[in-house]
């Protein structure tokens, strides 16, 4: 009976995750394009991985992924401050949760299209505003290789803020109120209370958001694809985007699978490292 209930899910896991993952692992050691048929698969050992280490676009994409990670703690910091304010210092906290959650429920395509227009170098409202303030040469944002990545990161923070905010608010609500009462009686300031009660007791939440945030960041694709198509000059390309291009546009199935394996190992390593490191700073 147990197999009947769990069977469909187990079958799904097997067919849609485990078998593809093994397949992907095997393909990463091949030179193959899916258009040529299975009989043309040729094993080439570690050649793909050796080639990846010299592939400038791939290394650039991987580097961009690491730079983008900065958006995770930045967004979490903003979310934490807003969460503290919203839980105890405003009227109508529910309305604020909805406001900051808006970008998260809006489709990434719609959001990306709007920002493309807002960031338009010559007639976008953002630069219109900057010119009105007297900025002579406002940045070209998504069209400028040195501003494109920061712009994408800004949008990532804007989109994901709501999730971290809601999770932080839930964490704050779990902190026993008498801790704050005792601290207030002892004359601790709000800032001191934040430093010695709120922040330490939220470390499990922070840890959780950091791990999921970093993993989510490595998987970012849709925003990059719709917003910039990896450009200009690969300045916003990321591993998953490069993988998509290699597999479905350049049709290099084997080579793309090697990229996937590197992505998988990185995700696994981050999770493992965090897991090991957490006992040094997380209070449960």
């Amino acid at each position: 009976m147990g197999y009947l209930f769990t069977g469909p899910m187990l079958l799904g896991v097997l067919v849609f995750t485990l078998i593809p993952m093994i397949f992907s692992f095997v393909l990463s050691f091949t030179k193959w394009s899916f258009v040529t048929g299975f009989d043309k698969i040729r094993f080439n050992g570690f050649d793909n991985f050796r080639q990846l280490l010299q592939d400038e676009v791939f290394l650039k994409s991987l580097g961009n992924n690491f730079i983008m990670l900065l958006a995770v703690p930045a967004g979490m910091g903003i979310a934490l401050i807003l969460a503290v304010i919203i839980t105890s210092h405003v009227y109508a906290p529910g309305a604020f949760k909805v406001i900051y959650f808006m970008p998260q429920i809006s489709s990434v395509v719609a959001v990306a299209v709007v920002w493309q227009v807002l960031f338009h170098p010559s007639y976008g409202p953002v630069n219109g505003f900057l010119s009105a303030l007297g900025v002579d040469n406002p940045p070209k944002w998504l069209a400028d290789p040195s501003y494109a990545l920061p712009s994408v990161m800004l949008l990532m923070i804007w989109i994901d803020l709501g999730v971290s905010l809601i999770i932080y608010i839930a964490g704050i609500k779990n902190i026993p109120a008498d801790l704050y009462e005792a601290a207030t009686i002892d004359g601790a300031s709000k800032l001191a209370q934040f430093r010695s009660i709120t922040f330490p007791l939220l470390t499990p939440t922070t840890f959780f958001l950091l791990v999921t945030g970093i993993i989510g960041n490595f998987k970012s694709f849709a925003l990059v694809k719709v917003l910039t198509d990896g450009g200009p000059a690969h300045s916003t390309s990321v591993v998953v985007y490069d993988m998509y291009q290699t597999a479905f546009v350049d049709l290099q199935t084997g080579y793309a699978s090697s990229m996937v394996m590197i992505l998988f190992v990185i995700v696994l390593a981050i999770t493992g490292l965090q897991w090991l490191g957490q006992r040094y700073w997380v209070n449960y």
């Binding site: 769990t6 469909p8 899910m9 799904g12 896991v13 593809p20 694809k225 993988m243």
Partner: protein, 276 residues
């Protein structure tokens, strides 16, 4: 106390202003969707349009050459069926893993847990090949199956099933009910709030999914709204008022679902701490 409330009011006001700035892109989008094209880039921005062209804009998006209605229908179909399938498969698995004892249960659960660490992006290429050789490529069925067998729902729902007392099951079993009966008529109604939470989250994620349809669909007539929107934006690159009308249209169903199920969404996110 009077002082304290005044402080709270001031902070609320400041936060509200920040909130408006945060929402400016949406306000701009709505405002641009109501204007004639010539006014979209006027500076200073006309937040409240001087000339209204809303009915023309929305009419051209919905009934123009863009097939927008078809994309909308495709999205509704795929999203609704994915959500249904996913709720069914996940709640059954959650019940099985918490309420039925069977050999290998824990090992199998650990296996499912482990696959959760595999990013969906890592299986796109092999799945694409598998789908092509099984005829699932370029079908809605393929998308529905992929979304319907996601592990996340099992995790979310498992917590709720685990919190239900086993006495319900034991007393039902004494009355001669089997697991199928117990699941359908006793436990399923009890976990309805949890099911609603997961269903709403799954609905939002599926509606917004861009990556899966992009990889697994080819025919324009099968496009979901996200792909359709993207194609529409590319084709109408010069008509921003129309693009904004399309964007507003794409967000409206989510806004409705979110407003109706706001409590569930927020609870689900904070409980499971989930995304994707």
């Amino acid at each position: 106390m009077g002082n304290l409330t005044l402080g709270k009011a001031i902070i609320t006001l400041i936060m509200a202003l920040l909130g408006i700035v945060f929402l400016l892109p949406f306000i701009w989008m709505l405002s641009a969707s109501l204007k004639p094209e010539a006014d979209v880039f006027k500076y200073p921005i006309e937040w409240i349009p001087q000339t209204l062209r809303a009915s023309f804009n929305y009419h051209s998006v919905w009934f123009g050459k863009a097939n927008f209605t078809l994309y909308y229908w495709n999205s509704i179909k795929v999203t609704a069926l994915t959500t249904l399938l996913s709720v069914g498969v996940s709640s059954m698995a959650a019940y099985g893993f918490t309420k039925i004892r069977f050999p290998g249960r824990n090992a199998l659960f650990v296996l499912v847990l482990a696959t959760y660490m595999i990013p969906a992006e890592a299986t796109l290429v092999p799945l694409f090949i598998i789908f092509r050789s099984t005829g699932l490529y370029d079908t809605h069925l393929g998308l529905i199956l992929l979304g319907g067998f996601s592990v996340l729902g099992t995790f979310l729902l498992r917590q709720f099933f685990a919190s239900l007392s086993n006495e319900y099951i034991e007393s039902a079993q004494i009355d001669g009910a089997g697991h199928l009966r117990i699941f359908t008529f006793i436990l399923f109604p009890l976990v309805r709030p949890a099911i609603a939470t997961y269903a709403i989250l799954r609905f939002i994620w599926t509606w917004n999914d861009f990556q899966t349809p992009l990889v697994f669909l080819n025919s324009k007539t099968l496009y979901t709204l996200q792909l359709g929107m993207n194609a529409f934006a590319d084709r109408n690159g010069a008509f921003y008022s129309l693009i904004m009308a399309a964007s507003v249209s794409a967000i409206v169903p989510l806004l409705i679902v979110f407003i109706l199920g706001q409590k569930q969404v927020i609870e689900g996110i904070s409980l499971g701490g989930v995304k994707g």
